[in-house]
Symmetry: C2
Subunit: 351 residues, 2 copies
């Protein structure tokens, strides 16, 4: 049966990098039905909402969804529940993609573009498994209220249940088995009860079902340090939505290859995955042909592998990116001069 | 009037590094009344509590409190409200030290011990102003509850009021005026209402009273990246308790000089300050004479400056540390071979 892919180019450099994915899909001649919808600021401009019910429904009934990027200064004044980010959070939540896989991998050809010394990042290969549909991003009560005397009070709630923790930890343990078999779990169990529950549930699941995997625990502040001090000590890292947001971005930047890094968000087996580059919408360089399409293209490769049943095509795309890079093809962010389209062409030529 | 300093050596390497401060105080021959009390695991062992009411009262009526470090695996099994960290949080809260100043400064003699290339960290001088007595560290409701079906639920509450935000932002703006006059405020206003309130209150205070200071805003995940990419872009950073915990530790590690970094926590004018090295209790090297006493000694210098009215002595201590380092005195963590005591002796000799 023909699989379906929904593209959500979004804002800023999103349409440009997704454009290169479209050209690549054409060149691969795969049996995939590709559709497209408005998302983020682009959807606000057209409909007043960052994502419509119809787009959410299409996403949930596709086999995979590939996003570009959302947001930008143009939509900063939107009401809180109508800003571009609210659309992204709604999509993640309704798709139920609770495990966000964020590889921080250093490409050999790019090891010198890191601010870290080469020996600290060469060969770096960390896989973050970030919880994506819970925690302080979604907890209630939340909001800003007037409390009199010219004072306001802003509240958010960090909340996790046992099963929310276990399902994402399970994903981390399973993935570790196919890698170096080590999982490090990060929380602030020394100051937050939600973090203590996190640690206890991860420990219990490990003992019951994954004793063959090496499990360690690290306080999130210490991990923020250890990622700088000696990033290669890590294999798989599992952590909550908010810590995962900060720590995976920190790790991504260590590689010096931000424009290269893809991500996948997956839920229950058989449900569609949500794929997106790690980089943001980069409004400062949007529309100028300067963006690096590799992260979007590698996110598409993850979609091919995890959601579209096209492992061979995923291998081909990843090999083509490697080959293009090794051959010297580089956009500006990684020290080269190629435009977005020229980089896409170099990858297609390397297929 | 004779000023008073309460020493809380605490656990792990705490007593060793505070020991060097005591020797230094002796050498300085200052008119300061020095007392000492149990804290953290050491207090648990003696009294069952990480800090007693009496110690809290003595801290609040001193002019300054200098801590070593708290915690360690020995006390990991303590009830949640009796663990060493609970004592530290209680002390911070009862002392009302809402502004935690954490300099991330790269010592010229140590620029090569960073994992970052020299050009990214040489001359680095960031001052974090972390909110220390609010946010998710203290918010209620909090706890772990059974919700049936073998499931538990862990909850914490992130909460800030206008005045809690304004008073710490004020400290940041004031300090910026004595430095490069730039403040960057970090939050996740795009997903958390408490972060949106943070941003709005900082902006309003800036407009009303500190328009001469340059103010920028950055999402906390982006800051986690920018600190790696180009740390020298920052001067003063103001952020909440939890983001400050992670981001200031990340920044501290960039310097390659963790064992060198002091911190100060201050509240209302005239109230005592709480001083502590950035590093932890390091149970793995405790009791072996391997710890670097510089962070504790420089924290003592901050106490001299901010709480004890001994500016000249503070200058002398800081100059002595610089001189000792430049003369090649180094403990193991910064590439040397000196013991804790030998390093202390080198600094006293350089006075
Ligand atoms: C855009 C924003 C809502 C989002 C997040 O905070 O999750 C982004 O930072 C990310 O990491 O994908
Ligand atoms: C020990 C712990 C409670 C503390 C914190 O989280 O604030 C520490 O990490 C710090 O930064 O001083």
């Amino acid at each position: 049966m023909t699989k379906s892919l929904l593209l959500l180019p979004g804002d800023g450099i999103g349409p440009e990098v997704i454009g290169e994915v479209k050209r690549l899909i054409g060149a691969l001649a795969l049996d995939i039905a590709v559709e497209e919808a408005l998302f983020g600021g682009a959807a606000i401009d057209a409909t007043g909402l960052p994502i419509t019910d119809e787009t959410v429904a299409r996403a949930c009934s596709s086999d995979a969804v590939l996003m570009g990027a959302v947001g930008g200064p143009k939509w900063a004044g939107q009401a809180y529940d109508r800003r571009p980010e609210a659309g992204l959070l709604r999509l993640r939540s309704e798709m139920g993609v609770y495990a966000n896989l964020r590889p921080a991998r250093c490409f050999a050809a790019l090891a010198d573009s890191s601010s870290l010394k080469r020996e600290f990042v060469e060969g770096l290969d960390i896989l973050f498994v970030r919880e994506l549909v819970g925690g302080v991003y979604f907890g209630t009560p939340r909001g800003i209220e007037d409390i009199g005397g010219g004072e306001r009070r802003g509240v958010n709630t960090q909340v996790y249940t046992s099963s929310e923790i276990r399902r994402v930890a399970r994903t981390a343990f399973e993935l570790a088995r196919g890698r170096s078999n080590r999982v490090c779990s990060a929380e602030k169990s020394n100051v937050m009860e939600s973090g203590l529950l996190w640690k206890e549930e991860v420990t219990a699941l490990h003992k019951a079902e994954y004793a063959d995997v090496e499990l360690t625990h690290m306080l999130a502040d210490n991990m923020a340090m250890q990622l700088v001090k000696n990033p290669k000590q890590f294999d798989v890292i599992v952590t909550d939505n908010l810590f995962g947001d900060l720590l995976s971005d920190e790790a991504a930047m260590l590689t010096g290859s931000l424009g290269m890094l893809p991500s996948a968000a997956i839920g229950e087996a058989g449900k569609p995955g949500l794929y997106e580059p790690i980089h943001g919408s980069a409004p400062d360089i949007a529309g100028q042909g300067l963006a690096n399409p590799c992260a979007a293209i590698l996110s598409f490769a993850m979609a091919l592998r995890f959601s579209l049943g096209e492992t061979a095509a995923a291998d081909r795309v990843e090999a083509a990116v490697d080959k293009a890079l090794t051959g010297g093809a580089c956009t500006r962010d990684i020290g080269g001069t190629l435009s977005t389209e020229e980089m896409g062409t170099a990858i297609i030529a390397a297929l």
